[in-house]
């Protein structure tokens, strides 16, 4: 017996919640970035599940695009983090607060 739609959606929601909590509580930019990716993947999983259970390819097509864009986004995001570390010598978000006041 294959898993039901609900279990996929629940897994997706759980992954999203884990990612969101990670963004909230972690201080390391790199980890926050990974958590963001996790949230993206959670959304992707939900799309694939809906696509399969509805018997249409719409969600699958969406996922292809999301993965492509996410790859580009990771490249840019990591580059920013590297550049940030080079100038500020830290990637801890609570110390990146020079805009405050």
């Amino acid at each position: 017996m294959s898993p039901s739609l609900e279990s996929y959606v629940l897994l997706s929601a759980a992954l999203f919640a884990v990612g969101f909590l990670g963004v909230l509580v972690r201080r390391n930019t790199l980890v926050i970035f990974m958590c963001l990716e996790l949230m993206l993947v959670a959304a992707t999983l939900a799309l694939v599940a809906f696509s399969r259970f509805n018997g249409t390819g719409d969600g699958d097509v969406f996922v292809f695009f999301i993965l492509t864009v996410a790859a580009a986004e990771v490249a840019v995001g990591l580059a920013i983090i590297v550049a940030l570390f080079r100038t500020r010598h830290t990637i801890q978000v609570d110390r990146l607060n020079s805009l405050r006041r």
């Binding site: 969101f20 963004v23 909230l24 509580v25 926050i32 978000v93 609570d94 990146l96 607060n97 020079s98 805009l99 405050r100 006041r101």
Partner: protein, 608 residues
């Protein structure tokens, strides 16, 4: 030279002189005086050759154009302008020559002569102007020159106060003048004197009461009529030749001249007002003149009074009579002022008549020329003032008995205060050190006196005028028959009464007999004299000042406080609230993001 070129040269020569003096000769008094006197001689020659030449012309060029509205500059040289230009030229030359002697030791001589030149330029501009806008421009320029010359001794507080007063009071009148010009353009579509005259001849002119009365406001300011007469007595703070030229012979007469220029616009009710303003000014000023002890102030009030005569003559419908009296008055009043200048110079700048006396023996030439002028102003038969004043009295007798009565009373007062002045200054014994050592000044002071005395004698005879002025002189009313006899009798009677009373009443012991014997009457006249100044002081200090304080309050609290500070403060308040959201912690932003998503979801789900 074509007449137009001559006129242009007459206008521009004094301007050139003023420019040369201001730019090149500011520190060289003698050279500046020579340039200015030469320029004024050129003006006199040009003015007289134009008048004798008989050519009458008008020409104009467009100066500025705004859409359909054009301002033009041009000359209208008719008989009226010819007469006025000749007066300005001759009196101007006399005053310039007199100034050579009078201002010889003044440290700021160059500035003074530059001022005289710029005044001549402005005054000639008024005389030649062919439209009201151009006249207004030069009208303001003479106002400026008057201000500049009254203020010549600027280290004296009273002189600088007097110059400001003259300028500001004139502004009040000029505002009405400007409104009148605008209204005239609005209703008639033109302010050109030639076109207005043509429209009048064709019956196409729009008449109204407002236009002539508003234009008359300008004359009220410039010719110092009630209620704006307050500046003229104070203007005597300026050098005496300036008083002779500007505040007796020419500039203050410009108001009368302007009225004669716009005669076609006049309507009956406006003329009625003008006649009474002139009549009351004549009486009021004559009353004030009786109690003055400063020689120049007596003459200043006398000028006011005579200007009132001219305005009254114009109001009674005869521009010719007004211009005739303006002409003779220019000669004998300039002579009186220059004579007083000679006296002041002889007595080392003593102006109090009660500290003079006995000058008859010490300054014979000044005495005799002054006597001629006094005889002319009081209307002794055979002298200039007799003819012109009789023309006005005859006019009044025929048209308005009430005006005639007041003017006759004024004539008594005129004889009274002029003989008083003459007796106290020249007869008796010297009453001060300065008067005892008085002496006649040089040729440059006495020659103008003699020339003007001559003009004061012959100025009343029509035969003395060249043919060119007939157009104006034919307008002078000539009394005939019973009117002639009545007016002649009346004027001889008032002259005899006034002069005899003054001769008998005043002594030469250095006291004012009126003040000693009738302190009540003296006090009344004193309060009459100061009443206008008191009223204006009250108005400015109590009413206008309070209004200004209210406006200041509105400005400080309302505009600067509520509007300017209020807007700034509100922006600051909002920004400090928004700034507190900017914590710099990523977590906070994520919560806000979550909050935004929740709101968006609620909106999409239809909850909000």
């Amino acid at each position: 030279m074509a007449p137009l070129d001559t006129a242009l040269l007459v206008l521009l020569t004094p301007l050139g002189s003023a420019a040369v003096i201001t730019l090149l000769l500011a520190r060289r008094g003698a050279a500046a005086a020579a340039v200015s006197v030469t320029a004024s001689a050129a003006v006199a020659i040009g003015a007289l050759s134009l008048a004798f030449g008989g050519a009458r012309f008008s020409a104009s060029i467009e100066w500025l154009r705004f859409g359909s509205f054009a301002v033009s500059l041009g000359f209208k040289y008719d008989d009226l302008a010819a007469l006025m230009l000749a007066i300005v030229g001759v009196v101007g030359l006399c005053v310039h020559v007199f100034s050579l002697g009078y201002m010889h030791d003044d440290p700021a001589r160059a500035r003074y002569f530059g001022g005289l030149s710029i005044f001549m330029f402005s005054m000639i501009g008024i005389v030649l102007a062919d439209n009201l806008f151009m006249m207004f421009i030069f009208w303001e320029l003479v106002g400026f020159s008057s201000y500049f010359l009254i203020n010549h001794w600027r280290e004296k507080q009273s002189a600088s106060d007097a110059s400001k007063k003259a300028f500001i009071v004139n502004r009040v009148g000029d505002f009405g003048f400007l409104l009148g010009i605008i209204l005239c353009y609005w209703t008639n579509g033109t302010v050109s004197l030639t076109e207005l005259g043509a429209a009048h001849a064709a019956g196409a002119l729009v008449y109204s009461r407002t236009i002539p009365l508003l234009l008359f406001c300008g004359a009220v300011g410039k010719s110092a009529q009630l209620p704006l007469q307050v500046w003229l007595p104070d203007a005597m703070e300026g050098p005496t030749p300036v008083s002779a030229l500007i505040h007796a012979a020419t500039m203050v007469a410009a108001g009368i001249y302007m009225l004669c220029r716009i005669e076609v616009l006049m309507v009956e009710p406006a003329l009625f007002v003008i006649a009474w303003v002139g009549t009351l000014t004549a009486l009021y000023a004559a009353l004030c003149a009786v109690i003055q002890s400063d020689i120049k102030k007596v003459l200043a009030y006398s000028t006011l009074s005579q200007l009132g005569y001219m305005v009254a003559a114009f109001g009674l419908g005869s521009a010719g009579a007004a211009m005739f009296h303006l002409t003779t008055h220019a000669f004998f009043k300039a002579l009186l002022f220059l004579g007083s200048g000679s006296v002041i110079l002889g007595c080392h700048h003593e102006q109090d008549i009660f500290r003079m006396g006995g000058l008859r023996a010490r300054m014979p030439l000044t005495f005799w020329t002054f006597t001629v002028a006094v005889a002319a102003i009081v209307g002794l038969p055979g002298l200039a003032g007799f003819f012109s004043k009789d023309a006005i009295l005859a006019l009044a007798y025929d048209n308005n008995p009430a005006v005639f009565a007041v003017l006759a009373l004024t004539a008594i007062l005129t004889a009274f205060y002029m003989v008083r002045l003459w007796k106290i200054v020249f007869l008796g014994k010297p009453r001060s050190e300065a008067a005892g050592h008085a002496h006649e000044a040089g040729m440059s002071v006495t020659a103008p006196l003699v020339l003007l005395a001559l003009l004061s004698v012959v100025g009343g005879y029509r035969g003395a005028y060249p043919r060119g002025f007939e157009g104006i002189l034919s307008l002078v009313p000539e009394a005939s028959g019973s009117t002639h006899m009545v007016v002649l009798g009346a004027s001889l009677f008032v002259l005899a009464v006034g002069a005899a009373a003054a001769l008998a009443f005043y002594s030469t012991d250095g006291t004012d007999a009126l003040q000693v014997r009738f302190p009540g009457a003296f006090g009344f006249l004193e309060s009459l004299k100061t009443s206008f100044d008191t009223a204006y002081d009250y108005y400015v200090a109590k009413i206008q000042q309070r209004f200004a304080l209210i406006l200041n309050f509105i400005d400080v609290v309302g505009l600067a406080g509520v509007v300017v500070r209020g807007v700034g403060g509100a922006a600051e308040l909002v920004s400090s609230g928004l700034r507190s959201l900017h914590t710099g912690r990523l977590g906070n932003y994520v919560y806000w993001f979550l909050f935004g998503v929740a709101v968006l979801w609620a909106y999409a789900a239809g909850i909000l």
